[in-house]
């Protein structure tokens, strides 16, 4: 199977970049035109490398992982779109303040969950599968496989690109289940019962419980 191991590719790329003496400016320009599968591969290996190198993370310090995820992953997420899609029809009816709070709390919940999952794992490699998309596509599916202990775990990303902007992740699939779809029904139950404010309260409560638990 023609899998690309981006960890290796990135190393080779870094060597080449070093040899050419590429400036930081050039590197940024290259990142802006980065292909979606390359972006996912780069982010994956940056997170795994950082986890590997950080003894505090290995000791289970979730705050460190949260900071890491904030720094590496969040700039590449279209978080507003993820939240809007998860909230569903209630999003348009929410005030800008409510929308901001929903985004902030949902972000905290997801980063925490992701950090918790990362803390559980060790000795992982992520393999990015060949991209099946046309060069002109602005909405693509990048499939990856997390390999470690036990069976490989499917981890797929949906990315979109607006004209002149970098690719951004707006939906994630873990083991066959799409994140937005899953949270849409979680959120709908709260909104139907107690409205948008009820959903915000439920998210706040969940985040508080998570913070207290670790």
């Amino acid at each position: 199977m023609a899998h690309m191991d981006w960890k290796m590719d990135r190393r080779a790329l870094l060597r080449t970049a070093g040899a050419l003496g590429a400036s930081a400016g050039l590197a940024r320009a290259w990142a802006a035109g980065e292909a979606p599968d390359a972006l996912v591969g780069r982010l994956s290996s940056e997170v795994l490398d950082a986890v590997r190198k950080d003894p505090q993370i290995k000791a289970g310090d979730v705050h460190r992982i949260v900071a890491l995820v904030d720094k590496i992953i969040l700039p590449h997420l279209d978080f507003k779109r993820m939240t809007a899609a998860s909230v569903g029809p209630g999003w348009r009816k929410a005030t800008p303040e409510q929308q901001q709070r929903l985004q902030d709390e949902f972000k905290q919940l997801l980063v925490r969950t992701y950090a918790g999952a990362l803390a559980e794992v060790s000795d992982l490699t992520i393999v990015v599968k060949p991209l099946r998309a046309a060069p002109a596509d602005t909405d693509v599916l990048v499939r990856t496989e997390v390999r470690g202990r036990g069976d490989p775990i499917q981890l797929d990303y949906r990315l979109a690109q607006k004209p002149g902007e970098a690719w951004k992740i707006y939906n994630i699939n873990v083991m066959g289940v799409w994140l937005v779809e899953t949270y849409r029904s979680q959120f709908a139950a709260e909104i139907n019962a107690k409205g948008v404010d009820g959903l915000i309260e439920a998210l706040v409560a969940r985040n508080k419980a998570n913070a207290a638990g670790k």
């Binding site: 997801l110 599916l141 036990g150 490989p152 949906r158 083991m175 066959g176 979680q186 959120f187 139907n192």
Partner: protein, 248 residues
Amino acid sequence: MKKNKLRWHGGLRGGRWLAAAALCLAVAGCATGPGAHPQDPLEPYNRAMTQFNDGVDKVVMTPVATVYKNVLPWPVRAGIGNFFANLGDLWSFVNNVLQARGQAAADSLARFGINSFIGIGGLFDVASEANIPRHKQDFGLTLGHWGVPTGPYLVLPLFGPSTLRDTVALPADTWGDLAWHARPVSTRNSLYGLRVVDRRASLLGVTGVRDAAALDPYTFTRDVYLGVRGDAADKAGSDDDGKLPEDD
């Protein structure tokens, strides 16, 4: 974690549990109202059974699995997990054939052959090292592939999340499990016990993440289960999976 791990195969006879489940269904009411999930008309019963299962899990399974995980070093647990996964590959082969999935069937049979002989009875997963992927299947998924709808979501005593279709498939899946045919019966029961504990141990981290991620762990588990076992799962693989309309 793969799809099938969401369901436990306990150490009790399928038929007895089917009867118990039918009885529970008969006495349980049906959920209606605006909040009801169309695939979960038995929500009140399911929630009660989930509570029961979670209680058993908390008092018995989690402590036993935690000790198991702490006592046995990873290579030993890896061997045990590989051994049972290898038994599963044979039944996956049969179901891949029933679903006319040629490559998946060939891979499954190759895996079983390679791991049974070169991998010393399945203790080592040599086939994965050789990049022969696992294609897990069971009779519930085969029924689904043949067009049988999942039916209502159904939480079984001790087994946990299931659907009516997967429950109907349970006797076939029990029979297709090589451990079921192990004799004497005490050996079979030991294998069942070991497998259940090993599975629970491998899922210790997963349940923690689930509880942190979910607003309502019951609906979260249900939706994930229906997502990985449902009709959509059978058709998954399109490049449009997970696509959202632009103006969402």
